[in-house]
Symmetry: C2
Subunit: 266 residues, 2 copies
């Protein structure tokens, strides 16, 4: 069944719009995803929106028709509305013609199978949602199991993180934990914790990486706390030929991940 | 001489504020840089703002005092104003306590010395200013000569690009050119043009890189045009183990740049 919304002040419009704010996402446990491509990425791994919102006059697309059918079959809701109202919901002038509301899922460490992949990325106090999404995308590219967000990070369910992930938020593992939870979990099984570091570090190239290898990058401004680095099994350093002593966090994670990938494949 | 501005409607405030728009930056040939750290990066390589804008009550800082003295000595202008007005200028609620207005500089290819470094980054139709700034930062890290922006890219003098560059916009080379200008310039001297590609490519790891090596990455959505790839001397491919077939543009550039760095150093 389709429901049509024609008024800007409709409570559903207000609710959908509220999902742009982290506070409201946390309260409702839902997030909003814009664009057919991301919705297709989600569908391809069996994640369907609870609610599908489509702009009127744009529903001739075959993929969209299939998505709508799947949402309805799964008991979800389909809303049609005007392009203007959809733009108001997403906060973009050039809104995509479709958006979906998903339930957030379990992001506890218990949901990860560390043996499922030779590489994992971990980020501590990562503040930039674009960096977060880029790291999820890198996880997909290197065949990493997923991304573990340690301490207070940006929200992986924000529109910016989801967009930067290019759909990887749906397809790779995702966990959120405090450092005090992460360390016991890590030490409860196999796993090498590797940090990019300037202290007591070996060259990153050809370092003795071991699967499953957990690559840890720190906050964009502060880097990793010293005691976090000390708790790592291996500290590696990348050449820094210029004036600065660090890379963008997502870049550092990716350069290390590709090096580990080459190392664990040998 | 210090000038004090107390009114929101002051024409200087309007002018400074207008520099947040690319259109106005192009017209005036000036851009605005926020924060003492970036201003210090600029000063360290001899670039001083034409105008320094300081929030009142914050001028006890030693670095800021030195910067002010240098600006005055160079014939520049120093403006003090209220924190509220500075926030209005920069468009940020938590504005830094200082900003500077710089003249844009020559970004023609003629300004680059290709022999100055073994690695150069080039980006075609790069649209995201954060990616652009991140690539400048990577240039600094790998000791690259600089970044060449090909065709219509984001503005390297936007606040977001400058911030993401962590000051590297001031310290590494920067050029802007159409493809039709870039190719004759490149072929007018030594230089290997390398593209990340899925077509007719060799593994990126251990590929025969030669200095000066120009690493070319394409637009975030479209990648490189096929004829641009065909014009490259070497096409390399990176492992893609997941569902997607590409990396974030700045990430791809960095992974390649570190591989080239290892290669040209052997």
């Amino acid at each position: 069944m389709r429901k049509q919304i024609t008024g800007f002040s409709n409570p559903t419009v207000k609710y959908l719009r509220s999902l742009r704010d982290k506070k409201h996402r946390k309260r409702s446990g839902q997030f909003l995803v814009e664009g057919l491509r991301l919705l297709e990425d989600a569908r391809s791994v069996g994640r369907l929106p609870q609610t599908l919102v489509m702009a009127e006059g744009r529903d001739g697309h075959e993929l969209l028709a299939r998505l709508e059918a799947d949402v309805v079959a799964a008991g979800g809701e389909v809303i049609t509305t005007t392009p203007d109202i959809l733009a108001k919901i997403t906060g973009k002038e050039n809104a995509q013609s479709v958006a979906g509301v998903f339930d957030e899922w379990d992001t506890s460490l218990a949901g990860l199978d560390r043996q499922a992949a030779p590489i994992w990325l971990a980020a501590q106090a990562l503040r930039d949602p674009g960096n977060l999404g880029t790291m999820l995308r890198t996880c997909d590219a290197v065949g990493a199991g997923g991304l573990i967000l340690i301490d207070d990070c940006a929200d992986p369910f924000s529109a910016e993180a989801v967009r930067a992930s290019m759909g990887a938020v749906f397809t790779v593992g995702l966990a959120q934990a405090r450092w005090e939870e992460f360390v016991p979990w890590l030490r409860g099984g196999m796993g090498q914790l590797v940090a990019a570091s300037l202290r007591d570090a070996v060259p990153y190239r050809g370092a003795p990486y071991q699967a499953p290898c957990f690559i840890l990058v720190g906050n964009e401004s502060q880097g990793l706390p010293e005691d976090y680095e000390a708790a790592c099994d291996l500290r590696v350093t990348m050449p820094m030929r210029g004036r600065a002593d660090s890379l963008n966090a997502a870049v550092a994670g990716a350069v290390l991940a590709y090096e580990v990938l080459a190392g664990v494949e040998v």
